[in-house]
């Protein structure tokens, strides 16, 4: 197998939650020893509920945040300690698409300038060349030259998300980190945007890290899926295996909780008790032990490691490792 495009090695990240004058400061444990790799050309999706650390992970991947410990490798280089200046040529190869299509476009800039800005920063194209490229990019995402002169407020949510994708594509990136790119869109528009993501991947040989909370969207786009809970990666495997044979009790509950648009389909649903524990006061043992219906003594004591239980199927659960 070829070497992975990007790799995370045992990443830990905490944020300061509150400072106390005496005694210990309190920290939010956002990521607790996450390791994963993404192969060139594949789509890895990360799913999990709010507060599980999935967005933090996306931000550490392209070094918008620095990890407390652990390493980030990109194209066989350790970029963990790169300075912002060193990062600039790397960022050209990894672009982001954000969740909120309203917040991520500058309202004072014309669309042609928004899409052309990465070209201005990363290349030395002339103004004319840039404009030509921008039009080509807009056409790839289903917009046209007429739209180039508009401002962001003139566009609908779906169109804005296309503009965001066009901007990310402008510098020919290898990796696109998409953080909840379709969750703010209506279903009929969501389907349009997902199809664009899929088409572009084939056309430009892109690698995606797709962060989402929606398991039904993720199935359409992914090759592999990782499930996160409270800053831990609890299960990671191919899409087929995850949906057919989810091993972690949390993944099972998550899958059964997704409402299915078919009234004849009634099934036994696993209703989890309680809420996600606070990432400030983490449970001592397995992060899921407080809500897990199979939890035994061991689960409350020690944190399970992410182990390969089947080829290509890793789970962090005491029940599966013993």
């Amino acid at each position: 197998m070829s070497s992975p495009l990007i790799q995370l090695k045992d990443i830990h990240k905490t944020f300061l939650a509150s400072k106390t004058l005496f005694g210990e400061n309190k920290y939010v444990h956002a990521l607790n020893g996450v390791s994963l790799e993404i192969q060139s050309g594949e789509t890895l999706s990360i799913v999990g509920e709010s507060g599980c650390g999935k967005s933090t992970m996306g931000r550490i991947l392209n070094k918008l945040l620095n990890p407390d410990s652990g390493e980030v490798w990109f194209e066989n280089n350790n970029i963990t300690n790169y300075t912002p200046v060193q990062m600039r040529p790397i960022r050209k190869k990894m672009q982001m698409v954000f969740q909120d299509p309203y917040g991520c476009l500058n309202p004072r800039m014309k669309i042609k300038d928004i899409v052309g800005e990465p070209l201005l920063v990363h290349t030395n194209m002339s103004k004319k060349e840039r404009y030509k490229t921008v039009i080509e990019l807009l056409e790839t995402v289903g917009l046209n030259e007429r739209h180039a002169q508009g401002y962001a407020h003139e566009f609908s949510g779906g169109q804005r998300q296309r503009i965001g994708i066009a901007r990310a594509l402008s510098v020919n990136p290898r990796l696109i980190i998409a953080d909840e790119p379709v969750s703010a869109l209506d279903v009929s528009i969501q389907a349009q945007v997902i199809n664009i993501f899929k088409r572009l991947q084939k056309e430009f040989n892109l690698t995606y890290l797709f962060i989402s909370h929606d398991l039904s969207v993720v199935e359409v786009i992914s090759d592999r899926i990782g499930v996160m809970y409270l800053g831990y990666l609890v299960e990671i495997t191919t899409k087929e295996k995850l949906y057919k044979n989810p091993m972690h009790p949390y993944t099972q509950a998550l899958l059964s909780a997704v409402p299915i648009a078919d009234p004849t389909h009634r099934r036994e649903r696993i209703i989890l008790k309680g809420d996600i524990p606070s990432p400030i006061d983490m449970p001592k043992g397995c992060p899921f032990s407080t809500r897990c219906m199979y939890a035994k003594d061991e689960c409350f004591q020690t944190i399970p490691k992410l182990l390969e239980v089947e080829p290509g199927h890793k789970v962090a659960c005491h029940l599966k490792s013993s």
Partner: protein, 328 residues
Amino acid sequence: MSEKLLEVKNLRTEFHTDKGKLVAVNDVSFYVGKEEIVGLVGESGSGKSVTSLSVLRLLPEQGNISAGEVLLEGKDLLKMNKKDIRNIRGGDIAMIFQDPMSSLNPVLRVGEQIMECTKLHLKYNNSQARKHAIDMIKRVGIPVPEDVMNRYPHQLSGGMSQRIMIAMAMSCNPKVLIADEPTTALDVTIQAQVMELMLELKEKNKIGILLITHDLGVVAEMCNRVMVMYCGRIVEMADVFSLFKNPLHPYTKGLIASVPKIGKNADVLPYIAGRVPDLSQMPKGCKFAPRCSEAMEKCYKEEPKLTNIDGNRQCRCHLIRERSEINE
């Protein structure tokens, strides 16, 4: 047919803006029966929230209900004076909003907010109200209700706040509950908890629920009947099984097809081309015609009427009329 608790007849809501008069809800009629969940689905801008706000006359200043009736057990809410409608709000008809965080008052303890309802509507004294509030919090599945009573909204998680909202809405024994996207802001595992709770309350208290959502999965799992809205109009109404098995309106078909389904593993998702038209630039004729793959010449000229089909469902489409005429 079940008893009609809430009936809306030919509702028309307009907004006065700089762009002129915009019709957000046009000729909408429906009813909610006892022990029934009626779903109202549509994309953003289809007028589903305005419909629900019109029922309780909670529209912003620019909004104006220009025609129609809203009947609660035969009494017209639109003809009531301000005092009477205030007694209905939170009393006979309760409402849950999408964002539980911003619908709770941040400077009041949760308990006080629940107690406020029963003190106002049921004239409870302090100790009665407190006892009732604790009881309600327990019923929505929150452990240690006495402790939660003394907390402020920011100390609760999203799922907890939504439960508190439900407890508050249910505390005066409403006959009808209007839930506007009650689970949209919640995570799936928490959504499952809240859906379960609402189904349970429906059975126990025999209430009628108007559930407004954009999520067809939620509709399929919870509703008895469904209305699909597009551009301020109801385009299709049917019981939940017929709607998903045999959608008639091209918009409903497109909507159902574009939902990704787990296990189906589709390579390309079907979608509806184009976008919802702006309220100020409504197309002539059928409002869906510009996006419809089956549109005929007639669709661009003449708006179809909502037609009864098989007695128990309705659809607003020229194609359906043509077909049924051929059958005749």
